[in-house]
Symmetry: D2
Subunit: 238 residues, 4 copies
């Protein structure tokens, strides 16, 4: 299983995954401006991989500006009679490079996870599987996602960064995942509010972060994205 891991992050690249969630800015003009800015930043900075997880109706619009656009969820179905669901099989033709799965706000059964992951891989796409705890992170790592994101739900949206308030969650998750799936990148999330929280997460062994309100609730999300990327890149160069 750990042998099937689809994606390995290049050694010196960190992941900045931005979950648009269903905030107002996910559906208005900021959604596309953010994609445009991500495209510019990707040109300028080779040390960071920016992933934008957008709502389904925005997928094509965002993907026309930026190539590393993801979905926030897919359902464990092939094509067929599934009214109002987003079948994982459709990833084969949709312009999403991957999908989040099992997010804290969208928990699924292991059966769902296994079926969806199988279809994601079949389509040649990637999946970040989320987990509440190091234990859950290890369990999902066994299934062979591209990356695992650990987010203690009690900190999500609080502005209290996991990397400061509960650093042991990150270190334990990194260890636990590494034991069952050596080398699988672990992202950290929940409460991440500024560049210093990101730097701290990377120092703790995370290969990147999964954020939402930090960017999406900013007055100017695109400007905020640039400012955070630049700060983290400066810090990493020191």
């Amino acid at each position: 299983m750990s042998g099937e891991v689809h994606y390995r992050l290049e050694a010196d690249v960190w992941v900045f995954a931005v979950n648009y969630k269903a905030y107002p800015n996910a559906f208005n003009n900021h959604s596309v401006r953010l994609a445009e800015e991500a495209a510019r930043l990707a040109e300028e900075y080779s040390g960071v991989r920016i992933i934008l997880a957008v709502p389904a109706p925005i997928l094509y619009t965002a993907a026309s500006e930026y190539s590393d656009v993801w979905l926030q969820h897919v359902d464990p179905y092939g094509y067929g009679s599934h009214t109002g669901y987003l079948p994982a099989e459709a990833l084969g033709v949709l312009p999403a490079r991957g999908t989040l799965l099992n997010h804290s706000e969208h928990k699924v059964t292991l059966r769902h996870l296994l079926k969806a992951l199988g279809m994601v891989k079949q389509a040649g796409k990637e999946a970040i599987v989320c987990a509440d705890t190091p234990e859950e992170a290890a369990a999902v790592a066994v299934l062979g996602p591209s990356m695992v994101a650990v987010e203690p739900p009690e900190l999500i949206g609080t502005g209290i960064p996991v990397s400061k308030a509960k650093p042991e969650i990150i270190t334990r998750a990194v260890e636990a995942v590494d034991r069952v799936a050596p080398g699988m990148p672990v992202l950290a999330g929940a409460g991440i509010s500024g560049p210093e929280d990101i730097v701290k997460a990377l120092e703790l062994g995370a290969r990147g972060v999964l954020v939402a309100s930090m960017i999406m609730k900013a007055e100017d999300p695109a400007a905020r994205l640039r400012s955070v990327v630049e700060s983290v890149e400066r810090a990493r160069k020191r």
Copy 2:
């Protein structure tokens, strides 16, 4: 409640609602060709209202070709932290004229239905609420949707048309809905395979039909849409 009904169909217009579901053609080029054809047919025929219920990722593309595009489902949420869900409140800015709710393949609680319907109305949009039986049709009619669609699940996708195999489902649903919400349009669905099944449904008191495979599994969905509309319109003129 029945006083709040948002939409009333003009006396002589029938509804042809096409549910794209998650068939392959819902995600490929046929999805937009169908929207283009619907736009042409809407110009030519004033006696039919064509509704296209598309998958969320296709919404903007389809809506750029045709104005009466709907979603297949919305979740009972306002904007916010709802990763991978489609908040009903976003209908306020999305180019969908309405949404299906409680489809046989996507059943929801009454609480979900009430919250979503409230937000749909707030956004000035419409909702077709689906029901398995005349009893369920009457129950959902009480909540004040724009229209009710009755579809016996055992016939969905079979090619055995409800209007022929179980005509009493349609007549009983029309009566039951009329008792609690006088004048609310009832659509019929399940197994509808040809223009004659539609004509029969209209004769039984339905104000239109909700179909899927009849169009979506056709070799050329757009051509099939035109041919069916033309046949029904010819029959209605006789």
Copy 3:
């Protein structure tokens, strides 16, 4: 549909439905003492019908002391391969006189509701279907339950009684239910804390109440049950 209503309350009897929920007292000795006290009260007072909705593991124990014991939920299944579910069909052999359905803490789809209600009736048992609002109350009344209970979820467990804080919820629910199912008894619930709240609910047109913490969180639930019944009965005789 309204013609199928299974149960009609005798004119001068009010319903005191006690939902054990999953409080500690639902699983310890108080659970059976409450049943014993209900049996005594039923002997003494003919003007009240006491219903005890117990957790499934307590059903036989409680039913051996008192005849009007109910379940808190049943699943819409016949006998068969349904691990960990309580099939509605089993009501035919279980010593429960009825079941709650669609409780605020256990919302179900309309399809679930219709199937379960059909099996409840088939088994000759009763069902109280819960609703958040007058609109939902009317919708479920259409399905023909024995009684409807309206409980605004924002007041459940708060100690702020619906009959005082939102009396119009009760009067509107009574009217809305009566319109679609004339004569169907409506119970009121949420925040009911003392006998005066019950009397007020009855004055507003409710035929009874559905309570939980008022009894289950009392130091001595059985003594509390007696005291409340006696107070309400005294007030009604005045």
Copy 4:
């Protein structure tokens, strides 16, 4: 995590777990006769551990006859406002020695699984967590249940025994579980119809079996239980 494993099977004992499911015999007199027979067999045969997973309403009745009675499911809740759910915390006072979790017919999220498992352990009880595949078996083994049961869903209830039709499912599950949780017992299930299927499963490395229809659909479930136990014990002695 693997260090937290609560239960280790004695070297020479196999597990015969009987899931009553919701078959008619789970709710009638056979349910208690089966418990009586299990008690007698447990006296006579020290090489087998018989576990009976009963429906919640039957728990006390069965437990009064036999000590190794389990529940089929618990919900991830502490005591409180959880109408119609069976809170895992109540295991502390209920006469169940353990519970199944994540059965093929009752799949849950990983979050549910982790919370429920934590409470099961807190109460000093055991849990068998079910899995469809060797991959899912490894994932749940990471969470530290007492045992893991692997059951390919496509064979459940078919009478085609997994140990004959897909022996590699058992061997792969045993290996995969052992890699992440050394020594954790793996049970096999699905289609097990006779003593020879059990013997074969044990030979493949399973430490026992999880069965249902083989016993519950027998004309005389108690007699069938005895006959199967005796056959397997005879075979093991050879």
